[in-house]
């Protein structure tokens, strides 16, 4: 399908933005910045899905990842009062982790470049309308749909139970206040840094 030339340019721009924001999400010091870069990565991936013709998945990606998961991560970062993080110096485990990642990357990329069957262009233009997806979900994939409903319900209950406070008398305060154990751990709170203080520190 040698139709339009600007498509690879759009792909390279989107892929570049997504990769750079992914690297930022994994390497910045401020955890809040990491969460926001993660949202940008998810949005870039959604645009790539849209470019590939999977409109429903792209919009679901925006809804679920940008709308829910990234916000949940930012909330957790703020709830744990951990916005400032000390980057560990280049240690041995750091080098080992990076080496493992590079080896995995090479072992994925080299076969992709060597395989001639992967250098292909789309054969057909599928029609992935929402109507078709809904029909398939209700007929062919109805049992997986029910299973994932069960999984989501269990995860919802599990998340609430795990994050719930142990002491029943403090149950009302659990969402409002930063966790503060009375007698269990008498050590002081970590220093509370607001975001501007973090930024001036860097």
């Amino acid at each position: 399908m040698p139709t339009n030339a600007p498509m690879p340019i759009a792909f390279f721009v989107l892929a570049g933005v997504t990769l750079v924001s992914a690297i930022c999400a994994m390497s910045l010091r401020n955890l809040v910045h990491c969460g926001l870069c993660l949202a940008l990565t998810f949005a870039g991936l959604a645009t790539i899905y849209l470019q590939l013709g999977a409109e429903f998945v792209g919009l679901a990606q925006i809804l679920v990842y940008v709308g829910a998961v990234a916000i949940l991560i930012v909330f957790t970062i703020l709830l744990t009062r951990n916005a400032e993080v000390h980057i560990s110096p280049v240690s041995r485990s750091w080098m080992v982790g990076l080496a493992v990642a590079i080896i995995v990357c090479a072992s994925l990329v080299l076969p992709i470049f060597q395989s001639p069957s992967l250098h292909r262009t789309p054969i057909m233009t599928p029609d992935a309308t929402v109507r078709l997806i809904g029909e398939k979900l209700m007929t062919q994939y109805v049992i997986p749909l029910e299973a994932i409903a069960l999984v989501l319900t269990a995860a919802l209950l599990g998340a609430v139970v795990i994050a719930m406070r142990d002491e029943p008398e403090e149950k009302t305060k659990q969402m409002m206040e930063p966790p503060r154990r009375g007698g269990a751990k008498p050590e002081l709170d970590p220093p509370r840094l607001s975001i501007p203080a973090v930024e001036t520190r860097q």
Binding site: T18, L19, T41, L52, A101, I102, P190
Partner: protein, 103 residues
């Protein structure tokens, strides 16, 4: 249109970035972010292979990605709840400080 292997190389790079982050960072939240990036790279592979396959009207790749997104959402919710529980107990989310099983 962009050839298939561009998408595959992009997904491989994204996966490696997530893996490097999950292996090198010490913060539990950042490890979760790395896992999310790896899941997204796998989803991108599903979509790319679906789009370039000869039998794309079956929508298999799309169905797989829809279910995978659901699983990933559940995983993120439970994982972050565990992070909050750990923080409440140890007052930290640095993984090297969370090193005993008996609280």
């Amino acid at each position: 249109m962009t050839p298939l292997h561009h998408y595959l190389v992009f997904a491989a790079l994204l996966f490696s970035i997530g893996l490097a982050g999950a292996l090198t960072r010490r913060n539990a939240i950042l490890v979760l972010i790395g896992i999310e990036l790896m899941l997204n790279a796998a989803n991108l592979n599903f979509i790319a292979f679906w789009r370039y396959s000869a039998n794309a009207n079956e929508l298999t790749g799309i169905m797989f990605v829809i279910f995978s997104i659901g699983i990933a959402a559940a995983e993120a919710a439970v994982g972050l709840a565990i992070v909050i529980a750990i923080y409440r107990h140890y007052r930290t989310t640095q993984l090297q400080n969370v090193d005993n099983l008996k609280g």
